[in-house]
């Protein structure tokens, strides 16, 4: 199989819109990045500022989740699917004036998969056998096994291309190849990016962009109303959205994220090791009540661990419809003593805290007595997620794209141990024929739904509030990013 994608598609996609407008834009974000290196931390806030704006990878995500050419204008894949030959865009310069060449790609990928790598998504690079620079504009990547998702993986923020010349100071003075250069950072307040006049591709239409960090939902509302920020990405106060929607000065964009929000059940310990009990929980939950109560009506119900806007999604919500009578019958069949006392651990986000209260009430109606324990992130990561898996129930949104494979690991916090599922996931990993992949992904989704691995609640929505006149924003968030390269003010 040979595929070749030209840079023309990208150029056409970016060419839309008027010519250069000399304007600035202030974007509100809830979380401030700890530093500016997307390749050495999990903090989504870093990508939210630098992805596609400052740093670019070989490939890049579009708003619809598609994988497009980035610093690689095209690529050839060998017949056996093991060798990827990337043809790099020529004449690209890093912001410090050094040339972007094949050696930079080798450096970046080797750094990410190296022994002392602190890349938060090191698994993305695990399949790489070797990376070599054929000539300054060509890179050959050899994989240990075919990987249908390899181009997708190279589009992640954790796989952006960095230069050895500027790696030392990347955390405070990031140097990339993007359409914006890093300007300055008033710690705790804002980060400013400047238009990169020497950009290799279609230049950004904004003169500069300022990211302002406002964590408090009420303050975010006030900042938007007072006109301090032009756009607020992932607006944290959904209760105020109708007000913005009704106001002609603002636009509200409702899109999708990759966040599958689930009521995780500890499959590895009593009572949720019993599939009947899990099935009972699934039927005791009324998704729409949770979406209305915790998310003010925003959010798409899901029936499995997969993003509903993905073309390979299978709607399995019918397998776990709201049916409290059935839930009671299943609990009786399972032979557990009622009321069944369990521990529900809730991390800080409001979908978890608010959603948890509603879920608890619904579970009580069928005879399950959850005892709610609110914890902070650090505790949740340590006790629930990582080490002891000391929990019965928890609510969490899994925001990484295509993360269905994580459930194949029996040591994952879900404790789901099904070799048949792991086998399907393994096949998906090496399959590059889209139709077969889709078929396999459908199988995997159905297995999770039929095994009632978790209470599948809803897909986390993305709310963006923007002043009228701001155009070209991403509506969806296929990866955490605020791609400003096509954003401009309407003229």
């Amino acid at each position: 199989m040979k595929s070749k994608i030209s840079a023309a598609a990208l150029a056409v996609a970016l060419a839309a819109g008027p010519a250069l407008a000399q304007d600035g834009l202030t974007v509100g974000l809830q979380l401030e990045p700890p530093h500016m290196d997307p390749t050495s931390a999990a903090a989504g806030a870093i990508d939210q500022v630098v992805y596609a704006n400052v740093f670019e990878g070989l490939t890049r995500f579009g708003s619809d989740g598609s994988v497009n050419p980035g610093l690689a204008s095209s690529w050839d894949i060998s017949e056996d699917g093991l060798t990827y030959t990337f043809h790099l865009v020529e004449g690209v310069k890093f912001h410090d004036g050094t040339d972007f060449e094949a050696t930079d790609v080798v450096f970046s990928l080797d750094r990410a998969r190296g022994e002392d790598s602190v890349n938060a998504q090191k698994a993305l690079f695990a399949g790489i056998e070797s990376v070599e620079a054929v000539d300054p504009a060509t890179v050959k990547v050899t994989l240990s096994a075919p990987d249908g998702l390899f181009l997708f993986k190279m589009a992640w923020g954790d796989a952006v291309i960095v230069a050895p010349e500027s790696i030392e100071d990347i955390k405070t003075a990031p140097v990339g190849t993007g359409a914006f250069t890093f300007g300055n950072w008033v710690q705790g307040d804002s980060i400013t990016l400047q238009n990169n006049a020497d950009y290799w591709g279609e230049p950004a239409m904004l003169d500069s962009a300022t990211f302002k960090f406002i964590s408090d939902p009420t303050a975010a509302f006030a900042a938007m109303m007072a006109g301090d920020v032009d756009v607020f990405v992932a607006f944290p106060a959904p209760e105020n959205l109708p007000q913005f929607d009704a106001d002609p000065r603002y636009n509200v964009l409702i899109g999708n994220t990759e966040g599958e929000t689930i009521l995780a059940m500890n499959n590895a310990r009593e009572p949720f090791s019993n599939k009947l009990v899990r099935e009972a929980v699934a039927h005791a939950i009324n998704r729409q009540d949770i979406i209305d109560g915790a998310m003010f009506g925003y959010g798409t119900p899901i029936g499995t661990f997969f993003a509903p806007h993905n073309p390979d999604y299978v709607d399995l919500t019918g397998l776990s419809d709201y049916d409290p009578e059935k839930a009671k019958a299943l609990l009786e069949e399972a032979g557990v003593a009622l009321p069944l006392k369990v521990k529900m651990t809730l991390p800080p986000p409001s979908y978890a805290r608010r959603g948890g209260e509603i879920v608890a009430a619904q579970l009580r109606a069928v005879g399950i007595e959850p005892e709610i324990e609110n914890v902070e992130w650090a505790q949740w990561l340590e006790n629930t997620f990582r080490n002891a898996h000391d929990y019965d129930l928890t609510i969490i949104s899994h925001t990484e794209p295509m993360d269905i494979s994580s459930l194949a690991n029996p040591d994952y916090y879900t404790g789901y141990d099904n070799p048949a599922f792991a086998e399907v996931i393994e096949k998906v990993g090496v399959e590059s024929d889209p139709e077969v992949r889709s078929e396999l992904l459908g199988q995997a989704q159905t297995m999770l739904a039929e095994d009632y691995v978790a209470g599948f609640l809803f897909e986390l929505p993305l709310h963006t509030v923007a002043k009228t006149g701001v155009e070209g924003l991403w509506v969806n968030m296929p990866t955490q990013a605020t791609d400003l390269t096509a954003v401009h003010w309407a003229k």
Binding site: D116, V118, A120, K122, T172, G188, M225, G227, L381, E400
Partner: protein
């Protein structure tokens, strides 16, 4: 005076030493691993181990304590785990917001409280006294974050005189700084001024009933002259104590107001650092605040001596 100062200074040092042990121990026992938070849910064990050793988290606790304290003594606050920048620089950046804010708020507090307290005391029992004291009661009772939001609604959203929050930075000039700090300072000052005015009034009234005031009045001073020349100075000791406590509170306790106005101050730094388990930052900032509180108390005690000659004699 020298002996008084020396004993105060010794107690300052001792308090700091005890505080350092308590702070370090308390923060180290918090559950949660900084590396695990930084690398998120998909991190692999070998990556976590690599980061832990990069951060020095694989060292034993006692070694880390001594490294920290020796660093502090030399003015080296260490490197933040999450931000990877020197903690001293981060604290300096945040102090550039928190210190002026605290001083501004304290200034407003004193400017409001002194005249109000003195005026009310000099008209004890009058309608003016009763209504002003009623207002201060309200000032103490109103939560300052609520008052802050109300001000944002009026002055930022409706009138658009101020921005709803944020800090312009010192590069933007003094006017811009004052503009970003005025609403927060007023919000912080309101309850403090109410408290201080009440303390001022009651301290003055206590003093006014003392024998030496009667003597002064008997010598022919008017009630007002007696108040200004004799009572005020004697009433200052409790007032100074409260001002000292208020300053410490304003420096560290502004976190809610900092959130409402999204100001990059010390309070928010601590909050962020605790949730990220950025232990070095938490330890150093808390230590600094302890130092500030102890230092302010030390200065207040010296100020007692200045207003009360009997203390100087000791």
């Amino acid at each position: 005076m020298l002996r008084y100062t020396l004993t105060r200074f010794l107690s300052l040092c001792l308090s700091l030493a005890v505080a350092s042990v308590v702070i370090f121990a308390a923060i180290e026992v918090l559950p949660g691993d900084p590396a695990s938070i930084m690398l998120g849910v998909n991190a692999q064990p070998d990556t976590l181990a690599a980061l832990r050793s990069e951060l020095g988290l694989d060292q034993p606790m006692v070694a880390r304590y001594f490294a920290w304290v020796t660093g502090l003594l030399q003015g080296d606050f260490g490197i933040s785990y999450t931000y990877r920048t020197p903690v001293a620089q981060m604290i300096a950046d945040r102090l550039a917001v928190s210190l002026p804010l605290a001083l501004y708020a304290l200034g407003l507090t004193v400017v409001i409280a002194f005249p109000v307290g003195i005026w009310a005391a000099s008209r004890r029992g009058s309608l003016g006294d009763v209504s002003v004291m009623g207002l201060t009661q309200l000032g103490v009772a109103i939560p300052n974050f609520w008052f802050a939001m109300l001000m944002v609604l009026v002055f930022a959203i409706n009138l658009q005189w101020f921005s709803a929050g944020g800090f312009a930075g010192w590069d933007a000039g003094l006017f811009a700084v004052l503009k970003s700090l005025t609403l927060p300072a007023v919000a912080l000052a309101l309850p403090q001024a109410s408290i201080l005015a009440r303390v001022m009034r009651s301290a003055l009234l206590d003093t006014l009933s003392e024998d030496f005031i009667r003597t002064a009045r008997a010598k022919g001073l008017s009630r007002r002259q007696a108040l200004w020349r004799h009572a005020l100075r004697n009433a200052l000791i409790p007032v100074l104590t409260i001002i000292g406590m208020q300053f410490s509170f304003l420096l560290a306790g502004g976190i809610i107001i900092e959130n409402v106005f999204y100001l990059p101050g010390l309070g928010r730094l601590i909050f962020q650092a605790i949730s990220a388990r950025d232990l070095v930052v938490v330890e150093s900032v808390v230590m600094l605040l302890v130092f500030a509180v102890i230092l302010v108390n030390f200065l207040v005690e010296l100020a007692y001596a200045a207003v009360d000659p009997r203390l100087r004699a000791r």
